[in-house]
């Protein structure tokens, strides 16, 4: 029996990467929704806790990660066009910025730990550490994945790796305003 061409075939990258991306978005979405829900029960406590965060560092990190995503997109374009060297350089740049993001994040965690703020300190920080920690783990994974796909420089794989990286980017752009800015 001949299979009709299904919507699956038209997705860029591998089907699996899209399963992953949708799953991740559901998890982060649910995490942020739960955060907003619990926040209603204690607006003052959440606002006070939020003042302990480093808004400026997180703002810089947002720029870093978005730039990294832009470089990754250029890298994928270059590889697709067959310009492998150029593609690899862009992907390397994206990876380095990813590492910079983690370094800034680590400094932020260090400062908060020094101030005695842990995951059990307040419901706000439970969400803060869970969501940003889970996100940081994905940045770390991306730092491994990007060089791997860059080394082989096959368009399909690069596209999948970069799709993952855009997801990590997108999640941060959602997390940042909700956790750091929302009053």
């Amino acid at each position: 029996m001949a299979e009709a061409r299904s919507a699956f075939d038209d997705l860029p990258g591998d089907l699996m990467i899209w399963v992953l991306i949708v799953s991740e978005l559901l998890v982060f979405g649910a995490g942020l929704a739960a955060f907003l829900g619990v926040r209603i029960t204690d607006p003052a406590g959440f606002a006070a806790a939020q003042d302990h965060l480093h808004r400026a560092a997180a703002g810089v990190n947002t720029v870093v990660l978005v730039t990294s995503g832009w470089l990754a997109a250029l890298g994928a374009q270059a590889v697709e066009a067959g310009r492998l060297g150029r593609g690899r350089r862009f992907l390397a740049g994206a990876t380095v910025l990813g590492a910079l993001f983690l370094a800034i994040k680590a400094a932020e965690y260090g400062d908060m730990a020094a101030a005695g703020i842990g995951i059990e300190t307040h419901a706000f920080f439970t969400f803060y550490y869970l969501v940003t920690g889970f996100h940081a783990a994905h940045v770390a994974a991306g730092i491994v994945v990007l060089p791997l796909v860059a080394a082989r420089a096959r368009a399909r794989e690069v596209e999948a790796g970069v799709a993952f990286w855009h997801m990590v980017d997108l999640v941060w752009v959602l997390v940042f305003p909700v956790l750091y800015l929302l009053r």
Partner: protein, 465 residues
């Protein structure tokens, strides 16, 4: 049957079905204890019967998985099993271990003995020597099937099946980790219990279902494999951190409440996908396979697993809900329908499919087998409802109003009486199933005019296999 060594599956299925009969009979005994509290309290105390009920369940399900693996791996890998001797040895170890467990539980001969005494952790009560035997048997099995697959054709179905079987065997090693700190003890205990049924066993389930769909509907392998990978990815993504739904109140840190709630809610997805998969395959594929009973069990499996694990699991998985329902009859309702839908039905599906082939016959006793499906499943679903109502009332009286445990139990009697009734239906259904499978009718049913016409004129049509 294309390969001689598939015959081993027959022995595994027979032992599995014998234990299945024992398991449900003990369930019925306990069901009566809930109606009349002193029933058999001297000869067969409730806790012993409970151990035998749950342990025989796990052992026969595993034997069924092994049998299924020995049946389908030769066909998928296109070669004989590496060693039939080892397969027999493995079965012998399991039978010996099971006998040892039964004797140890019933007579409690070695209370407190490090090696010989029972260990008293639900599902993992086996004495250490039996646990060691299980590991040895598992190693033999893994060696045997891995060698077969490595030397033969590799398909997505065998890859996922092996991944599941390796995973469940490795996780069983946590059965040996038993710290004296009760919170840690429970934490590791769930590595086995949860990561089995909501992780590795799901992979086994998906691959066996995929095999059945391939055979029963004749859909393209490529389509089946795509579904299989998506289901497996969804199962592992949600199931591993979903373990958190058991870490709400055992002394583990509070953040597990959010990890557990969020990830375990997503566990509904793979069970929904498996149900969608089964129905889409049947809808797209041929619908004229003569083994209608195997098809019914396959569809029933996917559907009841979605309701038992997916819907009844989600019912109490958010920590705000679980705070009230933890350890009530709601849990028992979910445990029964989930195990029955996902793993009991799965085994009965592959047994219904394989037995006629193993006996070299056309599918037999189809109507009896299908009747047993409706009786057993109907009984199980009714039991789930009675326990769910019992659990709802229990939660309110005990957890909200704060009444004493036994006072509440007295008020639940009517539900327990109805649960016993549904248990009778289940046991009758099991008896009917065993009869339909083990006692093939003498008469041979001639293909009807429609089927004869197809065999004669439709070159694509495959007759009974």
């Amino acid at each position: 049957m294309k390969y001689q060594s598939q015959k081993i599956a027959l022995a595994y299925f027979l032992v599995a079905m014998a234990l299945f009969a024992v398991q449900v009979t003990l369930g019925l005994v306990m069901g009566w204890v809930y109606v009349d509290g002193n029933f058999l309290s001297e000869i067969l105390p409730f806790n012993i019967a409970r151990m035998l009920h749950t342990n025989s369940l796990i052992v026969w399900l595993l034997l069924g998985f092994f049998g299924a693996a020995y049946y389908l791996i030769p066909e998928e890998a296109e070669r004989e099993i590496h060693s039939t001797k080892l397969a027999w040895l493995q079965l012998a170890i399991f039978v010996l271990g099971t006998a040892g467990v039964v004797v140890t539980y019933l007579f409690n001969l070695f209370e407190g003995n490090f090696l010989l005494g029972k260990e008293g952790r639900e599902f993992l009560e086996q004495p250490k020597w039996v646990k060691a035997g299980i590991v040895v048997a598992a190693l033999i099995f893994l060696y045997n099937v891995s060698m077969t697959v490595l030397a033969g054709r590799k398909t997505a179905i065998t890859n996922i099946l092996l991944l599941g079987l390796w995973g469940l065997s490795l996780l069983f090693l946590f059965a040996f980790v038993n710290p004296s700190n009760l919170a840690l003890d429970k934490m590791y205990w769930w590595y086995v219990v949860h990561l089995w049924v909501e992780g590795t066993w799901e992979l086994v389930m998906a691959s066996i279902l995929a095999f059945l769909m391939l055979k029963l509907t004749g859909v393209d392998r490529e389509v089946v494999e795509k579904w299989l990978y998506v289901i497996v990815a969804a199962a592992l993504f949600s199931g591993i951190l979903g373990t958190g739904h058991h870490y709400y109140w055992i002394g583990t840190p509070g953040y597990w409440q959010w990890i557990g709630s969020i990830f375990s809610s997503l566990e509904v997805v793979p069970f929904f996908a498996m149900m969608a998969f089964a129905f889409v395959m049947v809808w797209k594929g041929r619908r004229d396979h003569p083994n209608k009973a195997a098809l019914l069990w396959s569809l029933g499996c996917a559907t009841l697993a979605f309701f038992g694990a997916g819907v009844w699991g989600f019912l109490h998985t958010l920590h705000g809900v679980n705070y009230y329902t933890h350890g009530t009859q709601i849990t028992a309702a979910h445990g029964h329908l989930a195990f029955f839908g996902a793993y009991v039905s799965l085994n009965l599906a592959i047994i219904s499919y394989a037995m006629p082939v193993l006996k070299g016959r056309d599918p037999y006793n189809q109507v009896l087998n299908m009747a047993s499906f409706w009786l057993m499943s109907g009984g199980m679903v009714f039991m789930t409802f009675t326990l769910t109502f019992a659990g709802t009332v229990q939660t309110h009286l005990q957890r909200v109003n704060g009444e004493a445990f036994m006072d509440v139990q007295d008020q639940l009697w009517i539900f327990y009486a109805m649960r016993f009734g549904s248990g009778v239906a289940v046991v009758l259904g099991v008896a009917l199933f065993l009869y339909a499978i083990l006692v093939p009718g003498k008469e041979i049913i001639e293909p009807g005019p429609l089927e004869q016409d197809r065999i004669a004129h439709d070159p694509d049509h495959v007759a009974a296999e």
